[in-house]
């Protein structure tokens, strides 16, 4: 009987103990499970940002114009800034605060006092201050040097930076990003959707000594790298063109200028140079915000006489004139509608052909050809040539220019639009007009970006490459011949001569607005043309604004000559040796 009782007691005790265990088990495994496992994970797991890198901007040959590099922001904890011990040659040495501050300052390139002040000011502001930024985006070498200092209160934060290895070469086109990585200008903005990357994150667990536990990495969100933007720019040529432009602009005292080099057959922009140009690595060095963009895209102005090529092409295409058509060009021409047109310099009546009118760049002669078309006809030709609308380049903030509808033209504008006043164009639009004439009357879409290349090599956003016939091939050919006569016979023939080559070109000298509705004393001097004339390959269009030391297109002609020579040499455009046309310019 006693054994029975003993058994019963044992069972009761056992059940009680098991009961306790079960309660505890349920409590741990079910009731507090989430909290406990979160706590334990929190002790071990580390979440880390994995940076996606912003895409590169490349030139046509794959040269990096803008790339992403890893940089490091250096910060210190003011409240913890105090002497610490460092092991030097196996000996524990105490490093006084002044020494570590001096060491930091030396590496980041700041005066020691500045770093010292940073600490004391932060502490004065807030005695518990735990964060003060010492330097933003330091390079790998500086980062390593700072890490080697072993200062416990110095911290580093990865911060991907943007680098522009070619500096100001194509700087105005590429644009730049802010220190926070936000696109600010140029293609960085225009192609942001292609370039943009997104950061991901990964979680891993680590042991007490900070070593990552095997197989514990969990990628919570994969980073997405940006795609690369491939431009049509040739960085070597771009450098050369910027160099030539800058030299001439400085020599002539021009306020600004630009040069566009465009491929005739494809409409691709090979170089778009601006002066002054921004170095995206050092944006603040360019003080005027207007100089940080590309005026070739964003500034429109009255083109002046280079526009006469468009008028000539229009009248030739409409069949109301031939290159040999004759007019008498007086100094002053007073059309029936009451307008008052005069040439730039006094002269007697000239018996000129259409060719001669362009060689002499006579406004009165051009007016007599232009008026053979209705205003609406001329307006239609202009819009077909791309005047009044942004080009297809996709550059942010591109200026469409001003082209009022034909019925809004007043009497003077009706004539002024024949020789490039009373309307505005960008350098790109002028280049596009010459591209159309050089390409047998077929206008190709202006291309600056040839696509967005993803990591797997697929090219998206490839621009349309279908041309539109603006004027007939014959009209374009005749206009090209006229422009070749201009190149041979105009007053700048010696300045822009490229030995051995046939070229076509036209000057322009347009009055510039003074900003108050009138004209200033400055001129926008330009030369646009293409070569080789017998098989046009490249358009070069040069504009200089207000070259105070030489206020005529003679200022821009040497740039045209040098750039066109270089373009022909670089792309191995072999002169054909065929004879140039010889059209009569007078009668």
């Amino acid at each position: 009987m006693s054994s029975k009782r003993r058994i019963a007691a044992t069972v009761v005790v056992l059940v009680a103990i098991i009961g306790v265990f079960v309660v505890r088990l349920v409590d741990i495994q079910v009731v507090r499970a989430d909290t406990l496992s979160a706590d334990s994970l929190g002790n071990r797991s580390v979440e880390r940002t994995v940076y996606g890198s912003r895409g590169e901007i490349l030139d046509a040959n794959g040269v990096v114009l803008a790339g992403t590099v890893m940089r490091y922001d250096v910060a210190l904890s003011p409240k913890n800034a105090s002497p610490f011990t460092r092991t030097v040659d196996g000996v524990e040495t105490s490093i006084p605060l002044a020494q570590s501050v001096a060491e930091i300052a030396a590496v980041v390139g700041l005066p020691t006092e500045k770093v010292q002040a940073l600490i004391s000011e932060s502490l004065a502001d807030n005695p518990k201050s735990d964060y003060a930024l010492v330097a933003r985006q330091v390079g790998v070498d500086a980062f390593r040097a700072l890490s080697a200092l072993d200062i416990p209160w110095l911290t580093f934060q990865q911060n991907p930076g943007r680098v522009y290895p070619n500096g100001a070469v194509a700087g105005n086109l590429v644009g730049f990003v802010s220190s926070a990585g936000e696109a600010q200008a140029g293609l960085e903005v225009g192609q942001d959707s292609c370039l943009a990357s997104s950061n991901g994150s990964e979680t891993y667990e680590r042991g007490a000594d900070g070593v990552r536990l095997p197989e514990s990495t969990v990628t919570t969100e994969p980073p997405v790298d940006g795609s690369d933007v491939i431009t049509t720019i040739d960085s070597d040529l771009q450098f050369f063109v910027q160099q030539v432009l800058a030299e001439q602009a400085q020599k002539t005292g021009a306020a600004w200028g630009n040069v566009v080099v465009q491929e005739v057959k494809t409409g691709k922009l090979v170089a778009v140079a601006d002066y002054p140009s921004v170095d995206p690595n050092d944006v603040s060095a360019t003080t005027n915000p207007d100089d940080r963009g590309s005026r070739a895209f964003t500034a429109s102005y009255e083109p002046g006489s280079t526009f006469k090529a468009l008028t000539a092409a229009s009248v030739l295409d409409a069949g109301v004139a031939t290159p040999e058509s004759e007019v008498v060009a007086p100094f002053r021409y007073l059309p029936a509608n009451g307008a008052n047109i005069n040439d730039s310099s006094a002269h007697g009546d000239l018996r000129l052909t259409l060719t001669g009118v362009l060689i002499e760049s006579s406004n009165t002669g051009t007016s007599q050809f232009g008026e053979r078309l209705t205003d609406q006809q001329r307006y239609d030709y202009m819009t077909k040539f791309g005047v009044g609308t942004e080009t297809e380049s996709g550059f942010p903030g591109e200026d469409p220019g001003i082209l009022h509808p034909a019925d809004k033209w007043d009497n003077q504008t009706e004539y002024a639009t024949m020789f490039g006043q009373g309307l505005t164009t960008t350098a790109l639009q002028v280049s596009s007009i010459y591209q159309t004439i050089a390409n047998g009357g077929v206008r190709m879409p202006v291309q600056l970006v040839s696509g967005c290349r993803a990591a797997n090599g697929t090219l998206t956003d490839v621009p349309a490459a279908e041309g539109t016939q603006v004027v007939s091939a014959e009209a374009a050919r005749d206009t090209a011949d006229i422009l070749e006569m201009v190149y041979q016979k105009a007053w700048l023939a010696d300045t822009w001569e490229i030995p051995g080559y046939r070229a076509a070109a036209k000057t322009g000298t347009a009055q510039m607005p003074d900003g108050n509705g009138g004209y200033s004393k400055g001129y926008l001097v330009s030369v646009s043309g293409f070569a080789p004339a017998d098989d046009p390959q490249y358009v070069v269009s040069v504009s200089l604004a207000d070259p105070v030391n030489m206020n005529s297109s003679a200022a821009s002609a040497p740039v045209f000559q040098e750039v066109m020579s270089q373009v022909l040499k670089k792309y191995r455009a072999v002169p054909s040796g065929a004879a140039a046309p010889d059209l009569p310019d007078t009668w």
Binding site: V64, G67, V69, M70, G139, V140, D141, R144, V163, Y164, P165, N166, G167, A168, V169, G207, V211, R212, L213, P214, S235, D236, F239, F240, Q242, Q243, V244, A246, E247, Q250, S277, D279, N281, D282, A285, I498, P499, G500, Y501, E562, S565, Q566, L568, K569, R572, V574, P575, S576, G577
Partner: protein, 200 residues
């Protein structure tokens, strides 16, 4: 009923007895044939099994321990390798950044200029098929596109030109690759001369 049961029982109980008896006789016969079976052969296998089982458990524990040590050793190794991969990646990035920087046109142009090179703006071509000269050849004037600093590149600040490098300098500086180009001053000789048309 009881009769039946009793009868069944007798037959049921008798048969095993009978069988057992016969089986004992058979066993006795066998014992007679195979003589000595020592008790040690009965007990020894059991010890071996026990030992081997214990050894197995021990081996498993040791293996598990070793494996675990191995894995944690691997974790340290991976960690170290990862760190060195990151470091090497940084070095690679930084070096290629330097390379891209020194291959910028500004640097190349400045170096070419420093070495006395000039660019010729008037191209001319020699057509090999008939010896025709295309273009108008003239010697380089060296006046083209002046000083290379018109198109700034702040990244090149402090990068020396090839001509400014100390003689024989093969340091680890950014432009250390450049002297090789500078020392190649020997005139280039064409073995059989350039292919040229016969001139009469």
């Amino acid at each position: 009923m009881s009769d039946n049961l009793a009868r069944v029982l007798t037959t049921e109980t008798l048969r095993p007895e009978f069988d057992e008896r016969r089986a004992d006789e058979r066993r006795a016969d066998e014992r007679r044939h195979i003589e000595i079976v020592s008790p040690s052969t009965h007990t020894r296998p059991r010890v071996v099994y026990a030992l081997s089982a214990v050894a197995c458990v021990g081996a498993v524990i040791v293996a598990q321990l070793l494996l675990s040590v191995g894995i944690s050793q691997g974790a340290y190794e991976i960690s170290a390798l990862r760190a060195s991969q990151v470091e090497l990646g940084r070095t690679a990035d930084s070096v290629s950044e330097d390379l891209i920087r020194v291959s910028s046109p500004q640097n190349l142009a400045a170096n070419a200029e420093a070495l006395g090179m000039v660019s010729n703006s008037t191209p001319a071509y020699l057509r090999l098929s008939d010896g025709a000269v295309l273009g108008a050849p003239t010697s380089a004037s060296g006046t083209q596109a002046g000083a290379a600093d018109l198109v700034p590149n702040s990244l090149l600040t402090g990068v020396p030109l090839v001509t400014q490098l100390p003689a024989g300098g093969q340091g680890t500086s950014v432009a250390s690759g450049a002297p090789a180009a500078g020392t190649a001053t020997a005139a280039v000789r064409v073995a059989d001369g350039l292919p040229s048309p016969t001139t009469r």
